[in-house]
């Protein structure tokens, strides 16, 4: 029973989702399914939160390696959660002079104001740190390209030649070298696009096949059920 009910739900939902794409009056199912997915995602945040807190609390309790970072994580989590909630609902906002009169009383603030520096922390710490992580990509591209372009095999040599032409074609000086813009355009438009489309056809078939296997209950690993 524990195994059959999820499979039946999966089959019915799968058939309805497939049908709605061909039968317009069934569109309501798609709209409702999306709404339910959003609701479940919101609830799932709590599951994630519990997992995160449990993991770091255990590390602190056991004095595991780098447990001090876990304390920072837990404190940051607690601070931002409280600051966000208190800011949103206007509690203690008077301390920061952000209080404005509202229809629900003078504790309501308009939008996300600056109580406990919630917005400042997000904009001045979180965003720059994220940007820093992203910017690492530039250096990693260089190091990965260095390894990939070592012309040890025929394929690697081909990659090196193609990459050199495309890179030249993408910088201003390349436009002044005879044939480079045309060669760049040809590499991107013909072999590159052909390969991408070939992969995309395979992916499309693979996705459809996987979806069908899930609907028919042939593939059930995702339910934690053995074959």
């Amino acid at each position: 029973m524990r195994r059959q009910v999820p499979l039946v739900i999966c089959f019915v939902a799968g058939v309805l989702m497939l049908a709605q794409s061909f039968v317009p009056p069934l569109n309501w199912f798609y709209t409702n399914a999306l709404a339910w997915a959003r609701i479940i995602s919101c609830i799932a945040v709590f599951i994630g939160l519990i997992s995160l807190v449990r993991l770091h609390a255990t590390k602190v309790r056991r004095r595991a390696a780098d447990w001090k970072f876990s304390i920072i994580t837990l404190l940051a989590l607690l601070y931002m959660m409280l600051a966000g909630l208190l800011t949103r609902y206007g509690v203690f906002v008077k301390l920061h002079g952000q209080c404005v009169p509202g229809s629900m009383g003078d504790k309501i603030v308009t939008g996300f104001q600056n109580a406990f520096n919630f917005q400042d922390i997000f904009l001045n710490i979180q965003i720059p740190v994220q940007a820093t992580m992203f910017s690492l990509l530039a250096f990693y591209i260089a190091s990965a390209a260095f390894r990939a372009f070592r012309a040890r095999t025929f394929e690697a040599t081909l990659l090196l030649v193609a990459a050199t032409i495309v890179m030249l074609g993408r910088v201003p000086v390349g436009h002044y070298i005879w044939g480079v813009p045309q060669a760049t355009a040809w590499i991107l438009d013909v072999p590159n696009t052909a390969a991408k489309r070939g992969i995309m056809i395979g992916i499309g078939l693979g996705m459809t096949s996987t979806a069908l296997k899930i609907m028919l209950g042939i593939e059930r690993t995702y339910l934690g059920i053995k074959d």
């Binding site: 780098d66 992203f134 190091s143």
Partner: protein
Amino acid sequence: MSFAGARLLHISLCVLAGSLVLCGQALCQSAPPDTPPSPATDLVVKDTPDDDGGSVTLSWSLSADDKGGAKDVLSYEIRRSKSPDGPFTTIKKVLKGTSSTTDEKKVENNVDYYYQVVTKDASSETPSAVAGPVRAHVQWFNLGRLNTLLITILYTALLLYFISRAKKGEKLFVRRIAGLDALDEAVGCAPEMGKPALYVPGISTISDVATIASVNILSGVARTVADYDTRLIVPNFDPIVMTVAQEVVREGYMAAGKPEAYREEDVFYVTSSQFPFVAAVDGIMVRERPATNLFIGMFFAESLILAETGASTGAIQIAGTDAIAQLPFFIAACDYTLIGEELYAASAYLSRAPLLLGSLKGQDWMKMFLIGCIFIGLVTLNVGFAGFKSLFDLPLTIFR
């Protein structure tokens, strides 16, 4: 001042005022008249095709004054009425240069509607001729997707046929996939080196088929890891994926007969923010130094940051994704990469379950069919014969 003088002054002022009024009128008459813009023409209204009703599509020819005419058109106003004589209510406005729109504002099905498009400039407006009646209807089948349905039926039939053949015990040949062959070897390295294995199931949700494919692979990996008595670390981006991953890994350990070796704290949630997730996983790679890193699922810009950090720690790395833009990064930085469809084939390939292998065979035959169609289409179109291409329009032509 004498009475005569005063009277003379009064007459003079009257004459002056009269002259000013006349001059003003003359000036006004010399200004160009406020001519309204030319109307939109050829207004056609029809029920929006292939929908579930409640929508009417309008199209018209632009006013002659739209774009460069004598009177510059600013917008078109769509008006609707249930009677050809009005009164017409404004439904929506569209900008100049727009020649079609849909009305979805409380359109009742099976009710006659009449429409008018009013061309507006800065100061005046010109209505078009009234078009209608038109009725919105519910369509029970989306004819625009007829070809998709036919190809879906064909593909499903092929899959079911090969699955039934596999059920009968027929041996099906499946080509080697190097990345999957290396999986056992890669995971086997971890216990030899006394290090854990790391599995990242991508940064998408469970509704993504790539994530489901990744979870299927995770199941096989968990069994292998349990067999080798190794630790498996699975950081998650999505709480629902984490819940599924916990279940799958637990099942893997149970299947290997070592349920006690499963550690729930090793399959955990990190964050649903892209780069903080990368920072956390990079940190795990640098601190824990896993012997094997598996990046399988849907990845975005973080793919190379993860793979390069992993490469710098000297781990054996296998990646698999259907994100075409990330494939080159994984190929450059990982030892093996499952490219696109190989990700979806992995579950069948690893489990060797006949039913799954059957579906893999059906997938290959469908691919052959599509390659054949593309090749024939290419040849026939290049020799100037469009008959083959028009075959694909035939079902629609018949049913429309």
